[in-house]
Structures are given as structure tokens and as C-alpha cells.
């Protein structure tokens, strides 16, 4: 039985707490009375995930027949799956997608289905490299499909590969991948790392065009989601649900397979990251010292490559299949079971130590826009009820925030940072003035379609992600960040956490209440 999450009140005997700082960590000694939120320990993994998958396919949830009953010779079958942004860090082989898709393909083969296409549902993300696809799907699937052109990556900019299914009653265009929409059956294979993943969002976002995505990936939607981790209060999800229902009503039959992971996030060499500091044994202390000292002497590029090579040991904790909404309700409960931590009340100041990775820099650089998105978009939104920081409070992020970009993956991010943020940091103004130009730029379109670039509009979405936090807090301070990069984003920079806390006092007053969000491993603060 794993232990639940925990809120520690710092006292004199509390050891320094570990705080992520990009490709490294810092030990913080917080003022007495501060709170530290620790994530729950990993829930028990499925003992036989392959059997669990088989059972899920044979015993679907909701109004849906067992998968074998939906498969027949001569049909068109499309299997769509989540892209490189999930899970984080990438998991050790076999990936959940491999296990599930192999099981689906076995059933399809038994039924004599021979028109099968796999589609990576990447929306406006970058395409996956062959090596990344091979890792996610396994050699058997990759070798069977990729050489024959049957392993596709969704192209949101190919008009011939898209079909417009109609508009929701809110006037939202629903335009998705034609092959997926025109198949007799669309199987969607998902990994739910956090509560915002999955459900109707899988197809309505993952296989959609810009024309469709713009209806919910915008400032207004982001500002009216409280939070993304609570579908009942998320405008982003409400819009996706409307679209998903329209997709179903259009005759697209979706068999949804969702999996959850436990939070056994880091391999044994980094075992100290999974533990609470006062429970570190001598081996953990030695590992921490060895890793920290080594990182101090390691060039940034090498450190990045070391961390990006980490494969997570997290294990499948549940799998459910069938009708989208019925499946997703169970999935969400399972995610909450793993990640929710009860928290009593908000605080003046919240500290987020930001790690080296977010959904959009796998095998890449965490550029400043992604730092902002990870802190103000993801971490800030890891709440249910109300934000961990009070309105008018201060967020302190810890990350080196280098002025560095991967020109292959993030070309429009560079331009966004150089041109747009130099002009304004206001998400509303940015959306109004710049979005369309970037979204329709032929060069970005070309790179998105033929190289490994995120879509031209993607940095805008990252910045919109921050909109709720920017509305809510009165100050953002980045500890240890590159001065120019931090200022470009309109934030303040501090050299040390002590300086940052002093700066925060200028905003929230003396002796503020402080909470350190000790993450990852992932958790969701259930703030009462």
C-alpha cells in the first residue's frame, strides 16, 4: 500500500528540501512554518498489464461492444496514439502504446482486418523521429508498418488529409484527420499522465487542424479553466467535449483505450528524487552528492543530454477501454487516486522547482517560453478547487532559463521570443496582433510538415497557457534564470531563493506564508 501525499510544515528539525533547477537540483532551507507538498508514493502497478489490456478490450466500458465484435475482414481500421509529449520522462520499454497496440493488432489479425493504418496524433506538435516512434511502438510494430507507409503522423496542414465534420452548437469548427474520420473504426490509444489528458481531447485535439484547435487553444479558454486538471471546471475540456460529441454524432466510431501510470518516475540512480529528504538513506545521500557534484562540472549540453536519456520506470497502473466518456471517467479517478494531495488553504508564495523536461522539449532544449509554460501553465494548474497560491500572491520558479532554443524543433519560438515578447507580454494583445501571421506563415508550415518543428502557432499556445496564472498572481520571480531571458518575459530574476523571498515580501508583505510544491513526481494539489 503506497503512502498518500503529504503536507509537511517546516520546523527546526526539517532537513533542507530538494528543489529542481533544470538539469540539476538545489537544496533549500525554507523558513519555519513553510509548507512542503510531497506527492503520493507510486500506486501499485498492474501485475500483468498485457492480460489487463486484453480484459479491457474484451470488456469495454459504456455503450460499446467488445473490440473483437467491432473487427471484421474488409474494414478500415485506424489506430491513433499519443505522441512524444507523453509520458514524461519517456518510459522504459515496453511503452504502454506498444503493449496496447500489439494487443489490438493481434485481435485485428484474428478478425482478418488487413487495412490498418497507425497515426501519431500529434496535433500541432513536432513529428516524431523514427527512433522515437520505434521506442514508443516497439520494433515489431514499427517494422511491420513504417516501411509500407502505414505508420503516419497527423498533418494538420494537409487539406487533403483533413475533413470538416461540422460546427458545434457554439460555432466551433470540427476538422480532423480524414483517414481517422472515414475509417470504420478509430481506436485511440492514450497514456494519461495527468488528469487533463485523454477523453474527447484525444481525438478532438490530437487529430485536429489549426482551424479546429483555435476554438479552444486561446486566451479566453485558458483564462476560464479552473483548472485543466478538473474537467468539470475546464473550458478547454468543455469545448473538446462538445467537439467529441459532434465527432461521434458524425458517425466516427471511436474505441478509446486509456492507460494510467504510477509515479515511479526516476530510475534507481536517481532514487533520492522519489523520496522525502528525511528518509534518505546513506545511499540516497551519496547518490545525491555524486549527481550534484558531477552536474556542477558538466557542460550544459552534456547535462541536458544525460537527463534527456533518462527512461522512466513508471508502470501501467490501470487500463480501460470502450466508449470515450465512460472510459475517461474511470481513468480520471485513477489519476486522482495516484496524484491528489489534500491541501488546506492557499499561501502567499508558492515555489516551483522546475525540472529539465516538459511535454514539448523531449530530446530538446527547455527554452524560456517552455520554462514559463511549465511553471505558469502546467505546475500552476496542477490543482483542483483553487490555486495553491492566493490571488495577488507570488510564484517563485527555480530554473536556469537559458536564452537557448532548438532551431529544428522550435523555430517559431525563436521568432516569438525575439519579436513578439519584445513588443508585449500580454496574452490578449499577442493573440490579437500576432497569432494569425505566425499560424499561417508558409515557412513554419513547411518546417512543421517536412522537418521536426512545432507548428508556427505553438509558442502562442504556450504563452496562453500562462494566462490564468498571469491573471491570478501579482509577481513571478525566477531564481537563477538568465537575466535577459527572464526580463524579456516580463518576470523578475533573483540570484538565490533567499533573495526571491525578500523580493516577494515587497509584493505580499512581511512574513508571507510559503508552500514548496515538491514535484516531480507528479501530483495535483486538492486545495480546500
Amino acid at each position: 500500500m503506497s503512502r498518500p501525499g503529504f503536507v509537511l510544515e517546516v520546523d527546526r528539525s526539517t532537513p533542507p528540501t530538494l528543489c529542481w533547477h533544470g538539469e540539476g537540483f538545489r537544496l533549500l532551507r525554507l523558513p519555519e512554518g513553510s509548507r512542503i507538498l510531497y506527492p503520493p508514493e507510486p500506486v501499485e502497478a498492474l501485475k500483468d498489464p498485457d492480460e489487463a489490456i486484453r480484459q479491457a478490450l474484451l470488456n469495454p466500458e459504456g455503450d460499446m461492444a467488445p473490440l473483437p465484435a467491432l473487427l471484421r475482414a474488409g474494414m478500415r481500421l485506424t489506430i491513433a496514439f499519443d505522441d512524444i509529449s507523453l509520458p514524461l520522462p519517456p518510459m522504459e520499454r515496453p511503452d504502454n502504446r506498444q503493449r496496447v497496440i500489439e494487443a489490438v493488432l493481434d485481435l485485428a489479425a484474428e478478425a482478418g482486418v488487413d487495412d490498418v493504418v497507425l497515426i501519431c496524433a500529434l496535433a500541432l506538435h513536432r513529428r516524431m523521429t523514427p527512433a522515437e516512434l520505434r521506442h514508443a511502438l516497439g520494433d515489431r510494430i514499427y517494422d511491420a508498418f513504417a516501411p509500407h507507409g502505414l505508420l503516419l503522423q497527423h498533418d494538420a496542414e494537409d487539406p487533403a488529409a483533413l475533413v470538416h465534420l461540422g460546427q458545434t452548437d457554439h460555432g466551433e469548427d470540427v476538422e480532423i484527420n480524414r483517414r481517422a474520420a472515414e475509417s470504420d473504426l478509430l481506436v485511440y490509444v492514450n497514456i494519461n499522465l495527468v488528469a487533463m489528458d485523454g477523453g474527447h481531447k484525444s481525438v478532438a485535439t490530437g487529430l485536429a487542424s489549426y482551424n479546429s484547435l483555435r476554438h479552444h487553444h486561446n486566451v479566453k479558454t485558458m483564462q476560464h479553466s479552473r483548472s485543466f486538471m478538473d474537467q468539470t471546471r475546464s473550458e478547454l475540456h468543455t469545448s473538446n467535449w462538445r467537439m467529441g460529441r459532434l465527432i461521434a454524432a458524425s458517425g466516427v466510431k471511436v474505441f478509446q483505450i486509456e492507460t494510467t501510470l504510477n509515479t515511479d518516475t526516476f530510475p534507481s540512480a536517481f532514487g533520492f528524487l522519489q523520496k522525502r529528504e528525511w528518509e534518505w538513506g546513506s545511499r540516497d545521500r551519496a547518490s545525491f552528492l555524486a549527481v550534484s557534484k558531477t552536474l556542477e562540472r558538466t557542460p550544459d549540453r552534456l547535462a541536458r543530454s544525460i537527463f534527456q536519456s533518462i527512461k522512466s520506470p513508471h508502470k501501467m497502473s490501470s487500463v480501460q477501454a470502450g466508449e470515450v466518456e465512460a472510459v475517461h471517467a474511470i481513468t480520471t479517478d485513477n489519476v486522482y487516486r495516484q496524484q491528489l494531495v489534500d491541501v488546506d488553504g492557499q499561501t502567499d508564495v508558492v515555489i516551483f522547482g522546475l525540472p529539465y523536461i516538459c511535454p514539448y522539449n523531449v530530446n530538446s532544449i527547455m527554452n524560456p517560453i517552455l520554462v514559463a509554460c511549465l511553471g505558469l501553465g502546467y505546475f500552476f494548474n496542477l490543482y483542483r478547487g483553487k490555486p495553491l497560491v492566493r490571488p495577488g500572491g507570488v510564484l517563485i520558479l527555480s530554473h536556469p532559463t537559458p536564452w537557448a532554443f532548438n532551431p529544428v524543433h522550435h523555430p517559431s519560438y525563436i521568432d516569438f521570443f525575439e519579436e513578439v515578447l519584445a513588443d508585449t507580454t500580454d496574452p490578449v494583445e499577442i493573440e490579437k496582433t500576432y497569432e494569425e501571421r505566425f499560424a499561417t506563415d508558409d515557412w513554419y508550415r513547411h518546417l512543421y510538415r517536412t522537418s521536426y518543428a512545432y507548428h508556427g502557432v505553438h509558442p502562442f499556445y504556450m504563452w496562453y497557457w500562462c494566462a490564468h496564472a498571469l491573471d491570478h498572481v501579482a509577481g513571478v520571480i525566477i531564481v537563477g534564470g538568465d537575466t535577459k531571458a527572464v526580463h524579456r518575459m516580463g518576470f523578475k530574476r533573483a540570484s538565490t531563493m533567499r533573495d526571491a523571498l525578500e523580493m516577494a515580501e515587497d509584493i505580499v508583505g512581511r512574513d508571507p506564508s510559503i508552500t514548496h510544491f515538491h514535484c516531480p513526481p507528479m501530483m495535483i494539489a486538492d486545495v480546500h
Partner: protein, 410 residues
């Protein structure tokens, strides 16, 4: 009189060149420039006047000369020893303030009839810069007979003198010559089709004056991108024009965004800006200009280039034009963007420049003044101007004996 004298000395040239490799402006310490007492220059002929410089600017071409980096092309066009300084506001014996138009063309050299270029008012293209009754010298400040602005007196022909309005401060007046250079270059390409995007590379004195000129005289340019390396340069560029200011490494991306170009693997844009003004004049700046100019576009070389190494394949394949823009003369104010009245008359660049300096408030570009006695500091300051937050550095000769005496009497 006191003057900074530049003499011909090959060992000192070599020393200056070596020293300047280490730090720009170091030629002032080891090169052929020295502060000394010299005789005041005599009046070469009727029509010449004595001018007492009040302020005299330090120009990029002066720095190149002092550091031994100027092209040998100029050797037959100068005469040694000379007193540098061609950006001058000074005072005549009758107390009138004047700005010097330094090109030593046919009129100043006593050549009559003038060469065809001078006859048309294109005095910057004069064919007689090494001939006539003066020794060789393309401008005052490079001729051994005339003296220069870095001395307490020089001589100038009537045709070189422009009266300074009372409303002009000395700082404003000393900006008229560099602003005229910029204006002359900025007017190139008018009268052709409109330009969606133009680029100015460099935001020193010449670059910023070009930005100011483009914003006031070129409504045919829809969008202006300025490359500025330093913070103060960026601030001033924004002040002077409605433009986008980028750092050097950002130029190609900024132009690509504006022009909707694609990018080749080499970084070369497939489209680009129709006009690029290179106000730096290095191999690097010219390569940048060629990388962002559109096929059939024009690169205007405003900064003195010297010897540069650049791959011209793209220029050939894309039919790009490179044109020089040297000094000033007469501008034919025709074409889009010029007023109806102005279109009827050719105007001297200097006359337009007075308007530009006043309208754009270019006197704010004068960042520091030094007495001649601190010439080494002044030159090093000018050589590191951008890095040190400065734009134009000038010598202040108003505290010399002549002016002190006059002030006391008045």
C-alpha cells in the same frame, strides 16, 4: 596653433595596425597621430576663409585611418602631413558660425570649368580631387594645405561653407555633415517601385542618421528593420523611427518574418528586403546584407568598406545591385514621397541635412566632448562608442585661447 597632425610614417602605420587588432582606437597611442604646434594654414587663393573649429567630430573613416586600417586606395587622394577632422562647426573671423562641407572639389581647387560631375552639383563625384592649386585631398581633413577640424584653425573655400542658423546649437551643427552622408545614401532607390521592407545594418552615427532620414524622406518604404548591437543604439533607433530593431543575429529571422520568405539551408532567404543599407562596411555586414536582400534588390554601402571578403555568387545569381553612397552633393527630389514643391528643384544635400538634424533632434547623438589634449581618450571612446553607450564623440575646441579671449571681451 595646436593641432593633431597625421604624418606619413610606415613604422607607425604598422604599429597602429598591429595595436588596433588588439583594441580598436589604439592607433592613437602608437600611430602617426600626435598633438603638436603647427603653423596656421595660409589662404590658398581668393575666396578662401579662415575657420576656427568649435566642435569637430570623430568619424569612422578617421578611426580607420588612425588605426592603419584604411584602404590604400586613398593614398593618392591624400597629402601628408594633414590635420584630420571633416565634421566641423566653426567660426569665421567675423564671428559667423559655419558648417563645413569638406569635399575639396573643382570650385575649391580653382578648376574652371568644373568637371561634369561638379557642374551637375554631384560634387562628391568630383574627378579632380588630386589636382588644381591644392595638393591631393578628397576632403578637408586629408589635405596638407587646408588644415582640418582637429586643429584650432583651418581654411575653407566659400563654396564649402554653410551658415548655421542661430537656432542651432553647436552639437546640432556638428551633426549636419554626418547626417548629410546618411541622407544622401538614404535617398538612393527613390522613384522606383515602393519598398515593403528596408533594412539598416548598423546603428552608430551613420546608421541612426540613416534611420532618421528614411523615416522622414522615404514614405515609399513600408517597413523598416534596424540592426543595432547595443542597448543605447536600440533605444535611439526606436526614438528616431517607427521601426523594428533587432540584434545582429536576429536579422535574417526578422526579415524572413516580414517578407514571408523561405530559408535555404545556408541561411539565405529566398525573398528578402528590397533595400538594404549597410552602415558598417565590414565583410560580415556585407554578407548579412546579401543574405537578406531580395532577388533584384539593392544594397547601399554607406559605411566605408575597405577591403572586404564576401561571396558574390548570390549577388550574381539573384541579380542584386550593390551601390556606394559617398558624401553628398545635390539631390534630385523626384519620385514618390517628395513634396510637390521639392520635386521641382534639385536641393543641396547639406540644405536637406539642416532640416533633418533639426526635425529629428540629431544633436542628441553627440554623446561626449573632449579637448584636443585628451585626444587619445577621445579616440578610444569613439572606437568603443557602441559598447560604452555613446554615439558621436567630438573634440571641443571652444576652450582654446581664441575663444577664451573672445568670451572675456564679450
Amino acid at each position: 596653433m595646436k593641432a593633431l597632425l597625421f604624418e606619413r610614417s610606415l613604422p607607425k602605420f604598422a604599429a597602429a595596425r598591429v595595436a588596433s587588432e588588439w583594441r580598436s582606437g589604439s592607433g592613437a597611442r602608437v600611430g602617426p597621430l600626435r598633438l603638436t604646434d603647427v603653423d596656421e594654414p595660409g589662404l590658398p587663393a581668393p575666396g578662401w576663409r579662415r575657420v576656427r573649429p568649435r566642435l569637430s567630430g570623430i568619424c569612422g573613416s578617421d578611426l580607420a585611418t588612425i588605426d592603419g586600417r584604411a584602404s590604400r586606395y586613398f593614398e593618392p587622394l591624400v597629402s601628408f602631413p594633414f590635420v584630420p577632422g571633416h565634421e566641423v562647426v566653426g567660426e569665421l573671423d567675423d564671428g559667423a558660425r559655419v558648417v563645413l562641407e569638406p569635399v575639396l572639389r573643382c570650385a575649391a581647387r580653382g578648376i574652371d570649368p568644373p568637371c561634369p560631375a561638379c557642374a551637375q552639383g554631384q560634387t562628391n563625384r568630383c574627378r579632380n580631387l588630386a589636382f588644381g592649386h591644392l595638393k591631393p585631398g578628397l576632403q578637408t581633413g586629408y589635405c596638407s594645405l587646408t588644415g582640418g577640424g582637429w586643429g584650432t584653425a583651418l581654411v575653407a573655400h566659400d563654396s564649402q561653407l554653410h551658415t548655421v542658423p542661430d537656432s542651432f546649437s553647436d552639437r546640432a551643427a556638428v551633426m549636419v555633415e554626418p547626417a548629410a552622408c546618411a541622407l544622401h545614401g538614404a535617398l538612393i532607390g527613390r522613384g522606383t517601385a515602393g519598398h515593403d521592407t528596408a533594412v539598416v545594418i548598423g546603428a552608430g552615427t551613420l546608421g541612426l542618421c540613416t534611420v532618421a532620414a528614411l523615416s522622414r524622406w522615404r514614405p515609399d518604404i513600408a517597413s523598416l528593420v534596424v540592426v543595432a548591437k547595443h542597448a543605447e543604439q536600440r533605444r535611439l533607433a526606436h526614438d528616431l523611427a517607427d521601426c523594428t530593431v533587432v540584434e545582429p543575429g536576429e536579422l535574417a529571422r526578422a526579415v524572413r518574418r516580414r517578407t514571408g520568405s523561405l530559408v535555404l539551408d545556408s541561411g539565405q532567404l529566398t525573398g528578402g528586403a528590397s533595400l538594404v543599407f549597410d552602415c558598417v562596411g565590414t565583410s560580415q555586414s556585407l554578407a548579412s546584407a546579401l543574405a537578406v536582400v531580395e532577388p533584384g534588390g539593392t544594397v547601399v554601402l554607406l559605411g566605408m568598406p575597405g577591403e572586404v571578403k564576401v561571396d558574390l555568387t548570390g549577388l550574381w545569381q539573384r541579380e542584386v545591385s550593390i551601390t556606394g553612397a559617398y558624401a553628398y552633393g545635390t539631390e534630385l527630389m523626384v519620385g514618390p514621397g517628395t513634396g510637390t514643391d521639392a520635386a521641382a528643384l534639385p536641393r543641396r544635400t547639406f540644405d536637406l541635412s539642416f532640416d533633418l538634424v533639426a526635425d529629428a533632434g540629431l544633436e542628441r547623438l553627440v554623446s561626449a566632448l573632449y579637448p584636443l589634449s585628451r585626444y587619445r581618450e577621445a579616440i578610444q571612446h569613439a572606437a568603443a562608442a557602441g559598447r560604452r553607450g555613446a554615439i558621436k564623440v567630438a573634440f571641443d575646441l571652444r576652450s582654446t585661447k581664441k575663444f577664451r579671449t573672445k568670451e572675456i571681451h564679450s
